[in-house]
Symmetry: C2
Subunit: 330 residues, 2 copies
């Protein structure tokens, strides 16, 4: 049984996982859907109530029913590097590739349905709340008056994107920034704006979830740090990430979150306040982990490799058939 | 409790449903996400473990928690008609709007997750097979050799898109067409191609599913019809659609299908062969129904209105939380 990794060629983080899989002698096929109709080919036949499908990459053939797991890491858009790329070819290729893979019995990290849903920030905040994770007061609005009123109640504010990275090519991360309550919020009318009460933090926390495993890292805010450096990704700090323990109440909340979200992998960002409370900021279902592993020495790549290699169903997975009917009719 | 309809202004099919809802005096808000940051505005606040959100359209305000159901009919891309449209604004607006709506307790026709998954043709074919619905032998491939070999076994062939409509603006339907087994299949290497055994049909069947209700219509193939007119959408036929009964085995298969797919609405296309067997061709989760209602007089719009208006949870819905954990942590 083979592990299928969907990612770009330049993905060094995936390389770390491939090394671990190779050491365990688990068969791996790695391909970028962007190479479809070039070095990647596919075929699947439905006949007499059965399905037989194959993928080929660089001349290596693997059966769809021989897939143990699929790691959707950083795949390119299907057929993006075809000789004559087009929106139509990408759509046809996406439907063919993912449509076939969705019918395989493979375990997913992460299932495309779960991954897509998990990207919605408002949905994340609501789920975190229901799982008992503290969420800073947050407003998403196109009403200037609502923004002004919120800023009156929560004068220490940050603004951040509702979605994630700016979809330019290559995508650009948009930093979280402080915003003064005296700001003229009139422009809110021109685009949904996410305002959040700033957490006066003493540390940033990154909690990486791989199946049942929780690996937490903490980066202390150094004394005298500029309070305007809100976004740890852009802050100039010599302080490394260090391994951290996870308070039981947070562990329970995070486990409930990934189970409900159907995620096998999630990178949670928290801010730790002066009381030691972990405030939920977001859960990135495809968050990077290499920089954490480098700083902390935590075996994240190995843990992912073990999850992908495991022959049994292990992590939480979203149901293609929520009520089990599908299984009953198989 | 309000019914929210997401669709374009010109959608006359939605008008039919709105008329029924108005007759029942059920409050309706209809809006096009394309009008976001113009005549449509939104706001939602997460604070102290709760969420309060609102939508406004043309000055009418509705609370997110006051939504009874959401009908995703033919919505435009969010903020597409904003004063300064951009991919970034569309992404931000989509995340804000659908992210908030996903956190509502409303029933969906159809839930965005279910809708997206239901579009994958290979997934459709596999699910139909598992639900006991006969599927014509089908090949999806980029291997010319596989196409030739399949054509050898199934010389009476049609070719159709793997996805659906061509994504030009406005989208263009690509007809299903016959293809000779002597075709040079070399071009298959340049894009996934769907080949299917042609069903020698005596009728086309359209089965519209609305919650638990099945409404079937049949259009007989007239004697002497051109066998190259495979695609009923493009065939010149004076024969109308007429109401039809549904064989129990088909009804059971279709019910299993929509339950497993988490669909509250689905437009199934079947081809009826000389033996009376219904061959599954596809299930379009957002298929048109107006033309069927006009021909047959079947009350599809009214049935949809009743489903949307029902205060209780009625139709099948996909679980945002497949294993029920989410509910347990609420």
């Amino acid at each position: 049984m083979t592990v299928l990794i969907l990612t770009t060629e330049e993905d060094v983080t995936a390389d770390m996982v491939v090394v671990c899989l190779n050491e365990s002698e688990v068969p791996v096929v790695r391909l970028d859907p962007a190479d479809l109709t070039g070095s990647v080919a596919l075929s699947g036949e439905f006949a007499h109530g059965s399905f037989r499908g194959h993928l080929s990459s660089g001349g290596r053939l693997v059966g769809i029913d021989g897939l143990r797991s699929v790691w959707v890491r950083r795949p390119g858009a299907p057929a993006a590097r075809a000789a004559t790329p087009s929106a139509w070819l990408t759509e046809e290729s996406a439907q063919a590739l993912y449509g076939m893979l969705l019918g395989s019995g493979a375990r997913w990290m992460n299932h495309p349905d779960a991954a897509r849903r998990a990207r919605y920030k408002p949905w994340q905040l609501g789920l975190a709340q229901r799982c008992g994770l503290p969420v800073p007061a947050t407003l998403i609005t196109t009403f200037p008056r609502a923004a002004r009123e919120f800023a009156g109640r929560h004068p220490d504010l940050v603004v951040k994107p509702v979605s994630g990275a700016h979809p330019q090519d290559p995508p650009r991360a948009v930093p979280t920034s402080r915003v003064s309550p005296e700001t003229d919020f009139a422009a809110v009318a021109f685009g949904p704006t996410l305002l959040q009460q700033r957490v006066a933090k003493r540390a940033d926390l990154r909690l990486t979830v791989v199946g049942d495993r929780l690996l937490a890292a903490r980066k202390a805010v150094v004394a005298g740090a500029d309070p305007d450096e809100v976004d740890v990704r852009f802050a100039a700090s010599a302080e490394p990430w260090r391994p951290a323990g996870v308070p039981p109440v947070v562990a329970a909340g995070v486990r409930a979150y990934v189970r409900a979200a159907g995620l096998a992998y999630g990178a949670f960002d928290f801010a730790e306040d002066g009381d030691g409370t972990w405030w939920f900021l977001e859960c990135n279902q495809s968050g990077q982990f290499g920089f954490i592993e480098v700083d902390t020495g935590q075996p994240i790549a190995r843990t992912i490799a073990e999850w992908l290699a495991r022959p049994d169903a292990g992590g939480p997975e979203p149901a293609a058939d929520p009520d089990g009917t599908d299984a009953a009719t198989r």
